[in-house]
């Protein structure tokens, strides 16, 4: 067989040429002028990611229905990155070079956004992330502003989230329940390094003594040893920082009847499907979010949630809210810049002052340690603290937006003070 190989080699050449030709044909041509294009690179198979293109499309439809931007329509071009950094880079290159998008909304995974960040400078394309949290994203901008100024952090940084959680913990745990000690349990990932550092700093200030700090591998499937260890330290509450894991720790917490409440960040708990995913084990879990069902953070929140629910049949994930806002303020920036030139767009984006669904959107300035990070605080974004109760997400904090009272399942023994 092998001696005949040479005879077929020309045929091989033909096949190879045909394969390359097919590839060349597969990529569609592009129009130079026409609509404003916003690329959306997201994790279509993950719950948090699947809302991103949907919410972006919803915003684009609304803007187009009311006449578009400067007379131009907005077109959303979606790419599924299969949660992979490499596929995201490919998609980003395609978006910038092939589809000529004017801006990109990309991913809720910090790892992916960090891989894309250098490419925003290389290809001079504005990118906003609707869900990544690592502080490193904006720290990089501070270090190399001229190249990386095209990246915007459209979600809270880990440090800001930790501060918001601490603020809620102070009111709900220390003041209301008189809890005194805690163990921090977070997953080992890019976004939790600054989160944990800030937790360790702000929790004692909020009145909670940190007894231990556990970082778990995101591959963990059996959380029994971790819960046992925590229980042995007898904290009043477990402060969580989990996103990639969620279902398994929650279910095992319930199954082992760990008598300590969980409070903090549990990204998956923000999804409306989480009750079913955990078969109700999430009852009593408290989690931070920027929005929640039936919570009118701003006048735009509930109309968005209802429109989303009507159109897609489910509630948006946290990254859905931010992606929806992002399309609006990118469009607003393009309108103000009067151009889609990337450098002018960056300047206009930096001056963003937009009331979105999660609060008032303003970016930190060039001279801060985290340029292009969202400002947080009472005037801008405060976040919420919600709790799962009987299959519903009930908001408890801040008090003016609360629509329920804290309560726990019977296996939980809340503090000595109760």
């Amino acid at each position: 067989m092998k001696t005949q190989l040479w005879r077929v080699a020309p045929k091989f050449a033909t096949y190879a040429a045909a394969a390359i030709f097919a590839l060349a044909m597969a990529s569609p041509g592009h129009a130079q002028s026409g609509p404003i294009k916003i690329g959306v690179i997201a994790e279509a198979q993950a719950v948090a990611g699947s809302s991103i293109p949907q919410a972006a499309q919803l915003a684009a439809d609304e803007i187009n229905a009311s006449g578009g931007v400067n007379g131009q329509k907005i077109e959303i071009v979606s790419y599924d990155n299969h949660s992979s950094a490499a596929e995201s880079v490919r998609a980003f290159q395609r978006a910038a070079n092939e589809d000529h998008v004017n801006a990109v909304i990309a991913s809720y995974i910090s790892e992916v956004v960090l891989a894309l960040e250098p490419w925003t400078g290389r290809l001079k394309t504005v990118m906003v992330t609707p869900g990544a949290a690592s502080d490193v994203i904006t720290q990089n901008i501070a270090k190399d502003y001229d190249h990386l100024k095209y990246t915007f952090h459209g979600y809270l940084t880990s440090t800001s989230i930790a501060d918001l959680v601490c603020a809620a913990a102070k009111d709900l745990l220390a003041t209301q329940l008189h809890l005194k000690s805690t163990v921090v349990m977070s997953e080992d990932a890019a976004w939790t390094t600054p989160l944990d550092a800030e937790y360790l700093k702000c929790l004692p200030e909020a009145g909670l003594k940190v007894l231990d700090h556990i970082r778990l591998s995101p591959d963990t499937t059996d959380f029994t040893p971790i819960f046992n260890k925590i229980e042995g330290q007898k904290p009043d509450v477990i402060l969580t920082g989990i996103s990639h894991v969620g279902v398994q720790p929650t279910v095992q917490w319930k199954q082992q009847e760990v008598p300590i409440p969980m409070f903090g960040i549990s990204s998956q708990a923000t999804n409306s499907s989480f009750w079913n995913d955990t078969n109700g084990a999430v009852e009593g879990v408290l989690y931070q979010a920027v929005s929640g069902p039936d919570v009118a953070v701003t006048p735009k929140t509930l109309p968005f949630v209802n429109a989303f629910k009507t159109k897609f049949g489910n509630f948006p994930s946290y990254a859905g809210y931010t992606a929806y806002d992002e399309v609006y303020y990118i469009a607003d920036a393009i309108k103000r810049a009067g151009s889609t030139d990337p450098d002018k767009l960056v300047t206009a984006m930096e001056q963003t002052d937009w009331i979105g669904t999660i609060g008032r959107i303003q970016f930190k300035g060039k001279d801060t340690g985290n340029p292009h990070a969202l400002k947080v605080g009472p005037d801008t974004i405060t976040g919420l603290m919600l709790q799962w109760q009987n299959g519903k997400q009930v908001n408890l904090w801040p008090e003016k937006l609360a629509n329920g009272k804290m309560k726990f399942p019977s296996f939980i023994k809340v503090g000595s003070a109760q």
Partner: protein, 308 residues
Amino acid sequence: MLKSQTLRILLIGLAVVVAASFLPLGVSGYVLGLLTVAYYFGVFSMAWDLLFGFAGEVNFGPTFLIGTGAYTAGILDNLYGLPIWVCVLAGTLAAVVGGLILALPALRVRGPYFGLTTLVAVLMLQNFIVVDAGLTGGEIGLTVPDVLTISEVVNYQIALWFMAVSGAILFALSRSPVGLILQASGQDDVQAGALGFNVTKHKLFAFIISAFFSGLAGALLVFYFGSASIGTLIDVTVGVQIIIAAVLGGRRTILGAVLGAVFLIAMSEVLRPLGDLSNFTVFALALVVVLVFPNGFFGLLTRHKESV
């Protein structure tokens, strides 16, 4: 006789490569980007084919060698800002050392046992990268400050000619007496030993060559992407893609592996309109090829010649 055939195939291959080098005139930057990745993966698959097809070693861990090369190069660039070529060279050397480590069990155990050893090697490397996140970037991945170039055309040409040279060397090697001895020892090492060949020496040689090209390609790929991560370079599924590309192209053909790699990437692109189901369809097609045309594309091309 054999020599002239080898030469002839190499010449035809050269013609294809020269033709491919004119592609940037006709196709978009995006397609070039895809082909760039496909060519690097082609080198991975060819290096794997040398080990499996010729030395008979079922290696589930091509990504162990690739990852060692890639991360060594990336970390050096990140820590010391050394010139890219120094990093690439160091990465390649590290991969060769990795190849020797991988070769040790291969001299003792065979078949599925060796396959498992290689799988374990990948898992250990993965664990090391996750645990030592300070150095490697952990699950986040490593972002390197330097890239080869941001020009798609230049990147494309680098990958194309790198693949061409690697392919020519690997192919010539597989057709040389060394390749024949490897093949003999891969099928029956006892007999090959009895015939007076130094099986151990030749196997070690195959591991070193395979590791050399895997590591070199891995290191270059880091400086193409500008980043390295477990998901892109080390994960077992990446290894699976490399193996599938080689099997699809046709085992023991070396050059077929490139065809398989281009096919895999082209298919996932053509099937992109299927959205989330595109990956599924690519793997389903690959399975059909494995089931129906077990000799791969090269086998498909030779089939009617055989029946004559």
